[in-house]
Point group: C2
Chain length 684, copies 2
């Protein structure tokens, strides 16, 4: 594929990319010109000689994936997309970093065609690339058949010094080395400059040696020499058993007369004079956004990419002829579809049986695995505690590349970024598990899943102080509400096994964002739902429902108070309801597995569950109180936590910190009194 | 210090430690016996031959620091504390993991004497140890004088396979190698077993090589051979210029007949039979919590530790005689005291001057630095953007070990753990800076600072969508409220430069927990406070105050609505107040820099700011809406965000997402209408 003939045109193309980055940043008066100027040669070699893609079909499943982990260099990517023929016209480049343009400050997946992932927060793209390579290998192992290599692509990333300082990158790199992801190649843009100045200020490790320690194939290249870059990329392609890191020595702000190799080229426009001189030195005319026709023709991949995609389609058609079921399964997976009727595999649970919701989740995974065959996931070293193992599966490894059980190691953040990469790649339905407390470790990756609208499922067990002896370092308090704060993340905290199955249903049906399941360590009885309104399936999907209306059940009479619980605390509400019943106080119990889903319901539904006239209310959740005031209302109480937990057996901790039926009942009486005083309690 | 004579007694002591761990976990029916059983030899050698401490004075400033980063092995630490003579009697060991005992599931700093840091979440303790070693070297460089080595101690940690998988450890290790912290020694308990089973499942990197890549001095030791361990520790002590990693090969659950070297020994009691057999194999009698007098005598460090401390005290007295001011400064720093009258150095800002609150924060740091001489901190590669540099200081480095400006690199999580270690060590007043969005990367460390009640200050700049072009990956939305959810973390979002100075005052005066400052990128005018009630100093300290009462200012008449803003949105409220004034609607503007501080005020103060009779309210914050309902009340509105931001110039993003004076005024009118309808608006 090498193309030495075009070296003058190559050089011109590289400089045109640099010029576009300089001009866009100058025009926006904001942005990062230095990275694109330094990395243009490696990007050009990669995109014109190695990367296989069809600009007119950005979703072609067998395309190579490209991740710009150093997302601040977004203009590099936009220039490449524009020049190779994606739907990104010049007016978009001229509108860099402006409202509603397709060229936001950092690349945004789902917004700009050809952008494989949203990057900017450093280290994340690196982890995404590992996830993509993992998904590719899994799909190849699962779907390819002798003579039919329908999954046969590679993952490339460009990462910066900053990416290589982030811990999430270390975690993902260690796992990639362990797994031997030979089709992953990372070009390390080693320009030795970060925002604060020389990396000598804080970063003097031997990164090449570090990656050797992870088991990577490490080479280097002169980032200003296209032949050197091409040779390194070719060597990486030849390496089948190890991921490759190419330490590519570059010059940030290449061509800028005074700012090259300085932090001044990093995150601000060069300034009119420096920009003009830089373009002059690069042999570019004094014209903004200049692209000569020969560069456009040279860089377009519309014809060659279209041909590659068509050839693949022909191969896929042949595959389909021979393996129709596999082909259908592959295509459904690529479209993000679940097998017809998969919901019938969801287990039912016997009323009264005691089981932790984490166990119920494990039962759901076990039941779904044979049907949802592209369900792939695992745990950050808590496989059994999280009940996250797909039964009968070996651990995913070099030897078992098509296994569905992933041991992520004690690497929660890496897991989060890798799950995102798997979801971005497509073809797999990924999930990952850890203790709820350690959702904090992976929060930046969760946020990006939400921002990118990725269908990732998080299995977060040990979801409250009820976990007991491990104590405050392991007991979540603020995690539930802080996850609910992330836009487009859906949090579900089921009250028992039955709600857990429904929560999984909702998680897997969702295609436009991630779902977090918060599950107990402690056992809970499967609830009797003979008086539930609406059904549990509808009720969980709507976020909340009436589990029981207390003594006057079935009679359309007034209630004195509403007890609203989530997860294990629903059982406390039921116990309190029984106490209040004994005093002649009718209490409605509402199970609210998802505050966000409930809030999204139309007003009549919300009114049917929480009548606005009934303001005596107690919300019970063994988590932070803040954020529940809206549900509790002006006369309501929130029984929650404003402190950290403590180490002791779980039931003792619950009791000591106020989670008892007696206290719920006392709060109910107080709320009734307050509502009555305000003249609002008797309005039903 | 080597003590080969006592080898039989050494071995007995080691087995007694193992027996205590086995018995405590059996008694609690919960815990992690395997790690203490495997690591007992290294812990014994370290604590009896190397570690210098006085069990009767756990706060002696020149003691060596010991960090059990593998906090799940807490019984190892409790056994050591008990046997060496700390105030941790046997009844506490018997009450392992029980309510109110001094022996919680994971070690808790401030709760159990001798526990230097709270550990359990993996990787954190490692980072703390780096921070402690950094603080030690800084203090030595700052306070030692020829002939007076009053700061002369070391930091030791025991870390597990799990610690070495976490990214926060990678970040901290890379920086420790860069800085050449020669007095830091980490014993890596390489037992090759994690919770899921063999580390071969997920972790096959060459950790020794990785640490060499970071610039560490790496050796290995046989973890069952005290001579081998002692030799490695001695070699580490001889190494002055590099931190040391001792790869110590151990057997998890050493001595357990069937569970040794298996994951079954990791996180659950051995079981009665296995425990009995293990103790038998270790030569221990069939007696719970058995400690023979000769082991107690052998391990006690009361006499030797007391003598060491007394010798230091004599040396310190000599130092004081020669350098009285330095001695006083050292002692004040060790007590966490700030210099008398330091507040007078806080700058004042001219009304009307436009400056970003990040700039104001930089001005405060500059003004305080000459007075608060132990203020030490920096940024995660955003020194200028965060205005975090102490002026005139070189970067902290091997060459400048007493410098006060720390370049943490792009390592937010490592920074968080290191700041905790610095605060735990004492003698320095640490702060760290990054963009507010990246508080997510360091959240587990922030939580531990709050749990440990450490006086760390976080400088979080670029605090809203107002940062503009960098787009949704860099624009905080949920971060403000999710930080407010962490118990004992105080969040301050000042509205202008004057409030910023007060926020710094509050942060530095606080001794029982961390403070996060949320600061703008965009410029804001310094507010006129001629009508503020109470004063800005009292108002910020109380979390909220009345900035202006609108048209009827100075007249004790009724207000129609309260506009409550934080940070930059206070200015929007003032603009909306002017609009409403024009319509004859009197609007009170409340600046609420700290929701938590305001909530903690006595009811009369809260009532004076937000009269409960005045229910027409608008809360304005360019962040998540969830969590503000309590302040807004039943008729109020929350103008916030339920979505991610967007890339465009900051004022455009603000406008497009609804943060305009016109919209605030419209929401005010809507709230007035609602309150009036409810008959609640006219009660003033």
């Amino acid at each position: 594929m090498a193309n030495e003939a075009g070296s003058a045109l190559d050089q011109l193309s590289i400089n045109v990319i640099r010029g576009l980055a300089v001009d866009a940043v100058e025009t926006a008066k904001s942005g990062h010109p230095g990275m694109p100027m330094g990395a243009a040669p490696m990007a050009h070699v990669l995109w014109t000689r190695f990367l296989r893609f069809d600009p007119r079909d950005p979703h072609w499943p067998d395309r190579d994936r490209f991740v710009l982990s150093a997302g601040h260099g977004s203009m590099l990517l936009y220039a490449l997309l524009h020049l190779t023929g994606y739907e990104l016209p010049m007016e978009e480049l001229r509108a860099f970093r402006q409202w509603d343009s397709r060229t936001p400050g950092h690349p945004e997946h789902g917004w700009t065609p050809g952008v494989e992932t949203t990057t900017g927060p450093l280290g994340q793209g690196f982890g995404n690339a590992v996830g993509m390579a993992l998904a590719e290998r899994w799909l190849a192992a699962t779907y390819n058949r002798p003579g039919h290599e329908i999954v046969d692509h590679r993952t490339y990333a460009i990462a910066s010094d900053g990416d290589l300082m982030e811990g999430v990158q270390s975690e993902a790199a260690s796992l990639a080395g362990h797994l031997g992801l030979g089709r992953l190649t990372v070009l390390y843009d080693a320009n030795r400059i970060s925002i604060d100045g020389s990396t000598d200020l804080a970063y003097t490790e031997d990164a090449a040696l570090r990656f050797q320690a992870y088991g990577w194939h490490v080479t280097d290249a002169d980032g200003n020499d296209t032949a050197s870059i091409a040779a390194a990329l070719e060597a990486a392609r030849q390496e089948a058993d190890r991921p490759s890191l190419i330490v590519t020595r570059t010059n940030i702000g290449y061509g800028a007369p005074t700012k090259q190799d300085t932090a001044d080229a990093h995150g601000a426009p060069l300034g009119a004079e420096e920009a003009a001189q830089a373009k002059d030195r690069l042999g570019l005319p004094d014209e903004m956004f200049w692209v000569p026709p020969e560069v456009r023709a040279h860089m377009s991949r519309v014809a060659s990419g279209g041909a590659a995609r068509a050839a693949w389609q022909a191969r896929f058609d042949a595959y389909r002829a021979e393996h129709p079921e596999l082909a259908a399964s592959f295509e459904a997976g690529a479209r993000g579809e679940l097998p017809e009727g998969w919901q019938r595999a969801l287990p039912a649970f016997e009323t009264g049986r005691k089981m932790a919701t984490r166990e119920a989740s494990g039962a759901v995974i076990s039941a779904l695995a044979p049907v949802v065959t592209h369900l792939v996931g695992g745990s950050a070293d808590l496989m059994e505690s999280n009940n996250a193992a797909i039964p009968g599966e070996p651990a995913l490894s070099r030897e078992h590349p098509g296994a569905r059980k992933i041991h992520f190691g004690v690497r929660e953040h890496g897991m989060g970024a890798i799950l995102n990469g798997m979801a971005l790649h497509g073809g797999v339905q990924p999930f990952g598990a850890t203790f709820l407390i350690f959702s904090d470790y992976m929060r930046p990756a969760i946020r990006l899943a939400a921002l990118m609208e990725l269908p990732v499922t998080y299995v977060f067990t040990h979801d409250s102080i009820g976990l007991g002896e491990d104590g405050p370092t392991h007991q979540p308090v603020e995690q539930l509400m802080s996850l609910r704060l992330i836009p487009n993340l859906r949090v579900l905290r089921p009250a028992d096994a039955t709600e857990t199955a429904e929560a999984w249903r909702i998680a897997l049906e969702r295609r436009d964002g991630p779902t977090a399941l918060a599950l107990t360590r402690q056992k809970l009885p499967v609830l009797d739902r003979s008086t539930a309104t609406p059904s549990v399936a509808e009720g969980v999907a709507r976020g909340a429902y009436v589990l029981s209306d207390g003594i006057a059940d079935g009679v359309d009479g007034p209630r004195a108070v509403i007890l609203i619980g989530t997860g294990s605390e629903v059982h406390l509400c039921l116990a309190a309801q029984a106490l209040l019943d004994g005093e002649g106080i009718a209490a409605r119990v509402v199970s609210m597995p998802s505050l966000e889903l409930f809030e999204a319901q139309p007003s009549p539904y919300r009114e049917s569950i929480l009548p606005s006239t009934l303001t005596a209310r107690v919300v019970v959740e063994a988590g932070a109180r803040r954020g529940w005031q809206g549900v509790a209302g002006p006369h309501g109480e929130v029984l929650g936590l404003d402190r950290f937990g403590a180490s002791a057996p779980g039931d003792r901790v619950m009791r000591e910190l106020g989670f008892t039926a007696e206290l719920v009942a006392a709060r109910a009486r107080a709320s009734i009194a307050r509502a009555t005083l305000a003249g609002a309690g008797s309005l039903t």
